[in-house]
Symmetry: C2
Subunit: 213 residues, 2 copies
């Protein structure tokens, strides 16, 4: 692909991501995407055979962003004195990332279409969701080898860590369309959100360490 | 409402539930519902002003089913010797109920439409999801008063209990369109599902009691 074509390809992907997140799969047309990308509809079809293929592409592209999360998780130092502190920092980053409105919207978009495109949902689950947890499990295995944790089933421990932290805010956001907040209906923002993240992170890590330290 | 009208009303609700779960909100027409309920479209409109009102009705009707769950949760005996066993039984029932294909489909339907109908999502979250957890919290408070648990923040403990149990199977089912299974892609059934439920229940309760007993 020459650079002009590559630029158009990227512009179409960016536009498609925006439109699919805003309007859902069935509410989105190739016309909407062409308009936002400022290209012709023929150009869209030259790059992507149909709407379904374009949808799969934008969903799986987001697993790239998971890489940053994987690096974060792989990076917990083996340090008994600072274990609590290090896990709490990780917990706060998990919570901050996964409650961003854009991430919640993406999650909702994939779930909404899991019945229509089960293979795509499964691919995202494995390449996104499970990849972070597998890395976290490797880290917990390492900390167990060093005697800092007792996580014999490290993958289970990774899921428990995630479940303790994320069950509340992710469900609240998924059902209410509201990100983390001090209040029940998502009215708070700024300082309220940060305080709630701190509270959930501290409580989740406390329960996790009671079970696994 | 006379009994004939009441029967039609219920037939429309049943048909609407089936069609919305199968086709999603935007894929469903009042015609589909009338056809399945074996009534005229005028009759549908006589009972329900529009599609949105009918959708809200069927979603909120499912919170009735939550009552059975609430009774279950309120019913944990104060018995130190059998606490582990009683919580494990509750955990198995939680897992069995919440991973039923129909429940997963309903969850997906509400989440898919949370942006379009945020008030409906919030109402379901409060009357369904949170109501079970509030009852579980009251039970944990009671067990704490009796010295069997140490759950000073009982609502948080209830969320932790749910997160430990449900994070894995609910996410797997939501993204993959597959219910609980032995294999990663949801291939197993029957005995495999029961064994996986037992494993998740035992592991979740073990971690919970380590943190809160």
């Amino acid at each position: 692909m020459d650079s002009r074509s590559a630029r158009k390809h990227q512009a179409i992907l960016d536009a498609a991501t925006t439109v699919f997140l805003d309007k859902g799969y069935s509410g989105t047309s190739m016309d909407d995407i062409a308009r936002l990308a400022a290209v012709s509809k023929q150009t869209v079809y030259k790059h992507f055979a149909d709407k379904e293929k374009l949808f799969a592409e934008i969903v799986l592209a987001t697993t790239d962003r998971v890489d940053a999360m994987v690096d974060l998780v792989a990076d917990i130092p083996v340090d008994a004195d600072a274990l609590d502190e290090n896990l709490t920092r990780l917990a706060r980053q998990f919570l901050t990332t996964l409650t961003q409105p854009r991430v919640i919207q993406l999650r909702r978009l994939i779930i909404a279409n899991a019945d229509a495109f089960p293979e795509l949902g499964a691919a995202w689950y494995e390449q996104g969701f499970e990849r972070v947890l597998a890395t976290l499990a490797a880290t917990f295995r390492n900390l167990t080898d060093e005697g800092l944790l007792k996580a014999d089933d490290a993958m289970l421990a990774a899921h428990h860590f995630a479940g303790l932290l994320l069950w509340i805010p992710v469900n609240r956001a998924m059902f209410q369309g509201a990100a983390l907040s001090g209040g029940a209906a998502g009215a708070g923002a700024g300082a309220g959100v940060a305080a709630e993240i701190d509270r959930l992170a501290a409580a989740g890590v406390r329960a996790f360490l009671a079970a696994y330290a």
